[in-house]
Symmetry: C2
Subunit: 441 residues, 2 copies
């Protein structure tokens, strides 16, 4: 018994693909080899009408040269194109193309996290105006279906927090540093050699890629517009082999986390917050054991409780899997009618200033080795209303090494404390300050 009404069984949906890099090529290949299965799932066929590339004269293996065009805009505007798949990357040019597609009444599937994180307002408005779909499952954690889960499965629940490892490159580097004891530069070089990091790794290692994903997750989870610029962002390039070693000794792994949460500000109002930074995660927490370039996302929801999703967060095939799932959804709506759940920003919560965030610090210092130092420092913590959860002191040459783990406090008070510690005579050097997350205390 098929779900397809016989009247639509012969309907074919025309698709334009913009971009033929790793993801675009894999999408094209999978559509070819799975044509029959996809037609059954959609209730109608899909047909590639054209593929926009920057150089149409260059032959591509397995691609009919007649499909290639350098004129993306004309391809988008063809009457027989109903779905536009954007897998180019970048922001300005794809923005222009995606907006044109939506305005021309085409549904759009994009894997472009930077585009969505920067321009979701404008894109959603265009999709709503035209009554078409804007899908972007592949924009966050590739094949891990977190976008669909937040938009649909958890649509009847209240999200409390989303915390995850959403960048494969940085997880590869941190995991390799942890496993081998090597330093950041060495493991970055290895990641580049193995293809886990790009020639210019800035977007990954400085957290920009994760920040785009955090903006998207926070928007979906809290029904509030959170943009890339709203996300506090700190990368992993300052993490040293010593940091990793100290973390390991204390029972932690260092992970680059994207954390989206609802919080109460000092004024008693509700805010949303999204941030990306390295964090100490207890070894026994499932996020600590996410190895290599895998991604994992933890969601806390009021009724559902804790949920975790784990999988390949990058790569041609996993990203293509997510893009294809979206294509099937968009094509079903073209064949059967209906619209996917779109942008939902009704809650419209203010975005918290980063200083309002509640977190904990792990502070590693070189201090003078004399009586009374701890009392001096404790006073600084007390003056800032920061209570110390653990203090460890070690002899280190002429100085002493002091490690302080705080209780939960506002970021601004923690940061002010560190500022004062840096100025304090008894402190020779604040060696490292890393936030501590996902520990139940």
């Amino acid at each position: 018994m098929s779900q397809t009404p016989s009247t639509t069984a012969n309907r074919t949906v025309g698709i334009a693909i913009l971009g033929l890099g790793t993801v675009g090529s894999e999408v094209l290949r999978l559509i070819g080899v799975q044509a029959d299965a996809l037609a059954h799932r959609i209730g109608g066929g899909i047909e590639i009408k054209g593929v926009a590339v920057s150089d149409a004269s260059r032959p591509r293996e397995g691609v009919d040269p007649a499909l290639l065009t350098e004129d993306a805009m004309s391809l988008i505007n063809r009457d027989d194109v109903e779905i536009v798949v954007e897998v180019i990357g970048g922001i300005d040019y794809p923005r222009e193309l995606v907006l044109a597609a939506l305005r021309a009444g085409k549904s759009v599937v994009t894997a472009n996290k930077a585009l969505v994180a920067a321009h979701a307002d404008e894109l959603s408005a265009a999709a709503d105006e035209a009554g078409v779909d804007l899908y972007f499952e592949a924009a966050v954690a590739a094949a891990i279906p977190v976008v669909g889960m937040l938009r649909r499965s958890l649509a009847g629940d209240q999200i409390q927090s989303i915390a995850g490892i959403v960048n494969g490159t940085t997880n590869y580097i941190l995991d390799a540093m942890d496993t081998t004891g090597a330093d950041y530069e060495e493991m970055l070089a290895e990641a580049m050699e193995l293809g886990y990091a790009e020639a210019d790794p800035t977007a990954d290692v400085e957290g920009h890629d994760a920040a785009s994903k955090a903006a998207i997750l926070a928007s979906l989870g809290f029904h509030t517009r959170v943009k890339y610029d709203d996300v506090y962002c700190e990368g992993i390039s300052k993490i040293t082999a010593d940091d990793i070693k100290a973390a390991r000794t204390a029972g932690y792994a260092i992970k680059l986390l994207a954390i989206c949460e609802k919080l109460q500000g000092e004024d008693g109002r509700d805010y949303v917050s999204a941030r990306v930074h390295p964090a100490l995660v207890p070894r026994e927490h499932p996020l600590a054991s996410v190895s290599k370039s895998y991604n994992a996302i933890f969601v806390e929801a009021e009724a559902a409780g804790s949920l975790m999703f784990y999988g390949n967060g990058a790569g041609g095939a996993p990203t293509a899997s997510a893009v294809l799932g979206d294509i099937v959804g968009a094509a079903r709506n073209k064949v059967h009618g209906g619209r996917a759940p779109g942008d939902s920003t009704y809650a419209n919560l203010p975005v918290a200033d980063f200083g309002q965030v509640l977190t904990r610090y792990h502070i590693d210092m070189q201090v003078c080795d004399r009586t009374g130092v701890l009392a001096d420092l404790a006073k600084i913590f007390a003056e800032n209303n920061i209570s110390m959860r653990a203090v460890r002191q070690e002899k280190s040459g002429d100085n002493a090494r002091l490690i302080v783990v705080t209780h939960t406090a506002r970021e601004k008070n923690l940061a002010a404390t560190v500022e004062q510690l840096r100025k304090c005579d008894a402190v020779k050097k604040v060696t490292s300050v890393i936030r501590l997350e996902n520990e139940d205390v």
Copy 2:
């Protein structure tokens, strides 16, 4: 910017709830406290028109008595009811109600795994006939959105296998046995006392509940009708404290797994298979560390690779979360048009005979302590074309204990081997036979 066209903003969708147990009460409560949020997400309001219960005269805290009715059928057939939520449990009575609802053009949301696993054919046909939705996210692993993930997110991919812990009661018992060393009866009693097991625990401990879920997962994953009766099913009631201890010593945990896979039969054709049985899982595999009553599901897909989903697989609130997600989906379709992806059985693969399944055995035996025993036994394995991967021999009183782990082979050949071992004079007793899964060899 709201996604809701102004023309539909005042539309209200009427809901009937059948059943007011743990899940029904929580659904009702959550609809009450989240009314505004749900209206925004749906693009129109929802309103409870009535709640069918077996005794309408009994007052229920927080429930308007005017909503209660003992006449479920009349409630379903009210003109102002568009969505029917079935959370009664059982098979025959809910089947009658759900069929009546679908035939009357109401969309149905059910959490009833036994109903779906037994009667999906008939229910889907009725939904298709009427052009309405049949949602059942809560039927498998409660709040873990595996149904939506298979129906939508992975709709462009090819599933290779689904393996998971989908019953919280048995996982609680096995985990407690593993942690405490206690035997099955003792931990079952504890689970009952703590509310993790029902007064009659048969459906859980004998694997029937997991088998219903396996049937649903296999149907969704392989686009083939797999019914409850097609699922091989073995429970945990024969697992002893000794089995758990031996597994622990050898580096395994014992878990009740639901395994759905595509396999090639001896005739070279493709089959689907779904089975539920206790299995040894290597300690380092993520499924081994799923504790308490948590559920976890591993999916292998061609393009997406390995995905894991983890969360609360049972309980009032997590189940209500899944039911509410489905209500939002069904209500959106009532307001905006469109239909959810329905039943998809186009692949229509034959279901493999259990004997065709490829697995590995861990066999624990008491054998005579004399020279040549191992050679006698090795001959039996060889005659059945079973190759041994590991053999461990221990002195045990007058006898010897022999543990054999096989390489992968067809179930029927493995079972025949054990049959012959039982009849062999050198074997005093086959103490236990447990399959071994999720080990890469």
